[in-house]
Assembly symmetry: C3
């Protein structure tokens, strides 16, 4: 029997939306789906390494790099941002309830062999380089996304 397949486009750079994406992805993998998360536009920020990485860049690329959040735990909320208080409150209740942080959800995804793809077109546009992203991430374009999605059972854009 063919495996079920879940394919998620993660466009958003919001902490809560990325959490939702990774919770669904990890759940699907646990139920034996083949799972792909295709990170595009702001969704790539979840995969950035937290430490600043030295790479050669032009002026605009440096600016984008500085303005965008560096890694999962720096993302803001889609809602109730409240001058930065929202993310802290959410992380506080998550700890209290032993919920996994986004960083832990991404690690779990990698352990479950979920395919994490980064959109090469966005990488070019925003001037991000492979050294700046987590190890083990794949790089591809919209054609690779479609090849996975068109045979999918669950396709989501988040």
């Amino acid at each position: 029997m063919e495996k079920k397949r879940t394919t998620i486009v993660l466009f958003s750079g919001d902490y809560d939306k990325a959490m939702a994406a990774y919770i669904i992805a990890n759940g699907a993998a646990a139920y034996d789906h083949e799972v792909t998360i295709f990170h595009t536009f702001w969704g790539i920020n979840a995969l950035r390494k937290q430490a600043p990485i030295e790479v050669k860049k032009g002026f605009l690329e440096k600016m984008f790099g500085k303005m965008m959040p560096r890694g999962a735990e720096k993302l803001g909320l889609s809602n109730m941002q409240m001058l930065g208080m929202g993310p802290k409150m959410i992380k506080h209740v998550m700890k209290k309830h032993n919920a996994l942080s986004l960083t832990q959800l991404i690690e779990m995804a990698q352990e479950q062999d979920i395919k994490l793809i980064t959109c090469t077109m966005t990488m070019d546009l925003l001037g991000l380089q492979k050294e700046e992203l987590l190890d083990g991430v794949h790089y591809a374009g919209v054609a690779a996304y479609l090849a996975d999605a068109e045979n999918g059972n669950v396709n989501l854009f988040i």
Copy 2:
């Protein structure tokens, strides 16, 4: 012949996005789909009762409860919020055109036997209790969502 199936994750707590979710859901039910709406994160606010409900809560849970909109008609817009004027203008033109309000769309969904599920993980995190939500709502986790979605024809994340 097996019934077609539509499954929607309602993540957003915006009035206009919730409307879009319920319009598609009601349309699909009218065309004889089995329909599930899985409310998670801010999407749960659409299902809150409008009257304040007395339940015992800790400090943070009380704060979340107060800060989040209580029920469908309190939700803001994803766009053109304009200091609160946007929702009023939209509701005004909706009345003028005899469009159903979100409250009415939710009632219609319940009449059409659309399965309204609330995400138990979010309930825990935000400290919401069953007494605070509309009657007839189901409670489940991501596994229940996936079981419905993986056999679905139309799967959306809103």
Copy 3:
């Protein structure tokens, strides 16, 4: 063999989200999918003609018309709006990398026979008239969307 089918609801009026929708749509058409983009709510703004069109309207309809962006190149970003600087920076790097603008992506979609539908309910609510939208656009309701989506391989809500 039946053709694969991609159906996208474009709800958002953000430049970056509309770009993502049209990039996926054009990619899917290139891989021989039948593709529909159903524009609803703020997503319709991407299809407005840039020049102001003289049509008779009531007061509220005129206000909506003035407040909403007129055409693809007037849309804002979902993120990094930064007092209007974000869209300029993005368009600057897009030109530098020879990426297609949203206007060009829409033209390409029309050349590839992607079916662009505008939601008639939203047209009524916001008081938009056919003369104000690009030529060649179709007009339909949620039933037409569902008819395309329920046989789809890739269904997205953007």
